[in-house]
Amino acid sequence: MQHAAPRTIGETLLKVEDVSLGFGGVKALSGVSFDVRRGEIRAIIGPNGAGKSSMLNCINGFYQPSDGRITYKGKARGAMRPYEAARDGIARTFQNIALFRGMSTLDNIMTGRMLKMNRGFLWQCLHWGPAQKEEIEHREAVERVIDFLEIQAIRKVPVGRLPYGLQKRVELGRALAAEPELLLLDEPMAGMNLEEKEDMCRFILDVNEQFGTTIALIEHDMGVVMDISDRVVVLEYGRKIADGVPDEVKADPKVIDAYLGTGHG
């Protein structure tokens, strides 16, 4: 994990300009622009089907925008594969948990360290010397994540057997183990009860504060979003309808319309 850094909001880390995305005839995103600054918690909200997940998928290279430009760390990106985004320091979690179900909690979080492990294949065959040393170093890093998320007790349990809330936590752990600069969270609190939500909020805030990780998140629970995020961007039908600090956005008539219109908060 990174060293604790004081919480300051810095220069622009990610800039999305006029991004559009279409599947066949369906437009998932049209001309969306916004930015994420280093160190902030940025929320993307909007009714179902507004294109929020598609937006995250564009940012980490899973989808290629059909139009527009994404600039990350000052460099405009061409077409890239998700593993290249990962190498650039972007990690994420998923709306429907995407853990490796056949593996234990420990192994799942260890996969988050994958990019930082580079001992060659022959050492791996021996599992000895430098390879073993590397394995232990990363195990220590992973144990720090495990301590941070308070999941010591489930270390060796296959994740398929864990309850939903804990699975979400393990998934966050896997993303954190990569020590990302930009962390994308897709509905980190969906389907959780109040207590689990409070825990998750605390973890998100702690990650942001202690490690200075920039976070972009999608969330449905408006209360939570308005409490924890620095700035909020609102999407509807693939277009941006509002952008600003929580209080501004809350008062925006277009946002109120969008939410009252779908009757969903």
């Binding site: 990962a86 853990l99 490796f100 996969t111 073993q132 394995e135 195990r139």
Partner: protein, 358 residues
């Protein structure tokens, strides 16, 4: 002896990550190795060594290979037989072209050649998955067998199309050819298998193994955390094919001494697949259990009715064998998809808690 881990505190991550963290398991393994290396050669007859133990060891290597690809990396392959043939013929070419070369290196080289062939046939796995890929691996199976049957260069222009293992020795003992005793063959095979199993275990418990399992469990998520899918899959194809190639070479040189390509037809591929399904997908131990099971079952099917005084005709036995295998596959997939290895593990858990039920 009671199976307990209470009181064994692990004080370092190295100890926690050992292959067998529990003391009793380490003792058990030591006994097993002692029995395998010393006990079996002393007790077992030539017949048992050459018709049960040696084939079991050879099959175990092939099962390890397929388990790496299918059980750990999730890429179903029906081309195992083709890759085994590749190893067998490569070994024959190396052994006859370089008579001075130690047979150990011959086998390793033939594994290496097979690994390269495996990578070539693994390339489609970039674009296709699941049964599309399974069908694609059949291309390897049929093409390779055809190649070795039709191109006389591979059999050094022998008119019969059969390759025979030339005599070769290790440390002064013949391990291949007619002068080799089954004891020497067995020990040689066993050493090979023990080393290969250790390497496989090391691979699957480290970074490489985690990358394979990540691809198996959810390839999209794996790519998003930075695992390169093609790289990882091709590595699995290479390692898997290496094992299958060595298994083929051991088959041709140690087990049967002479072989034709048809010994590695599609039924061989299915046989190995059955081993890992019954033994346990994604388990090193399972590869061995499955191999043992499939080697022993036909012998039992043969001996059982005869012992009960109702010997069956060979064709009936062959059909019964097909039916039993088929039924067992379905049974295991339904009841215990992780196979015999999982049953073994459950047994150990029970023993750990014994005599308390929970």
């Amino acid at each position: 002896m009671i199976y307990r881990e209470a009181g064994q505190y692990k004080t370092s991550y190295a100890a926690d990550q050992a292959i067998f963290p529990i003391l009793q398991d380490r003792i058990g393994l030591a006994i097993l190795l002692l029995v395998a290396f010393v006990g079996a050669p002393l007790v077992a007859s030539d017949y048992i060594l050459s018709t049960i133990l040696i084939p079991f060891l050879v099959f175990s290597v092939a099962a390890l290979g397929l388990n790496i690809l299918t059980g750990y990396c999730g890429q179903l392959s029906l081309g195992t037989g083709g890759f085994m043939a590749c190893g067998a013929y490569a070994a024959y070419k190396f052994a006859t072209a370089f008579p001075e070369l130690n047979i150990v290196f011959v086998f390793l080289l033939s594994g290496g050649v097979t690994a390269m062939v495996g990578v070539v046939f693994g390339v489609p796995s970039l674009r296709i998955k699941g049964f599309y890929l399974a069908v694609a691996t059949l291309a390897a199976q049929f093409f390779l067998i055809w190649l070795f049957t039709k191109v006389p260069w591979f059999v050094n222009y022998s008119p019969s199309g059969v390759i025979s293992a030339p005599p070769r020795s290790v440390f002064g003992f013949y391990v291949t050819g007619i002068e080799a005793t089954s004891h020497a063959k067995y020990i040689f095979c066993l050493s090979f298998v023990a080393l290969l199993a250790l390497v496989a275990k090391n691979l699957v418990r480290g970074r490489v193994g985690r990358a394979w399992m990540a691809i198996r469990d959810m390839d999209i998520a794996a790519e998003i955390i930075g695992i390169r899918p093609l790289h990882t899959k091709l590595l699995a194809f290479a390692v898997s094919s290496f094992y299958c190639g060595v298994a083929g070479a051991l088959w041709a040189f140690i087990y049967t001494s002479s072989v034709e390509a048809l010994a590695f037809d599609i039924n061989r591929s299915f046989q190995i697949l059955f081993m890992i399904i019954i033994g346990g997908l994604g388990s090193i131990l399972g590869s061995f259990l499955g191999a043992a099971f499939i080697v022993l079952l036909p012998i039992l099917l043969n001996a059982g009715p005869t012992a009960m005084g109702a010997p069956l005709s060979t064709s009936t036995i062959a059909h019964l064998e097909l039916m039993t295998f088929g039924a067992l596959i379905v049974f295991f997939l339904i009841v215990e998809p992780h196979g015999l290895a999982r049953l073994w593990q459950i047994g150990k858990e029970k023993l750990r808690l014994w005599p308390f039920p929970h």
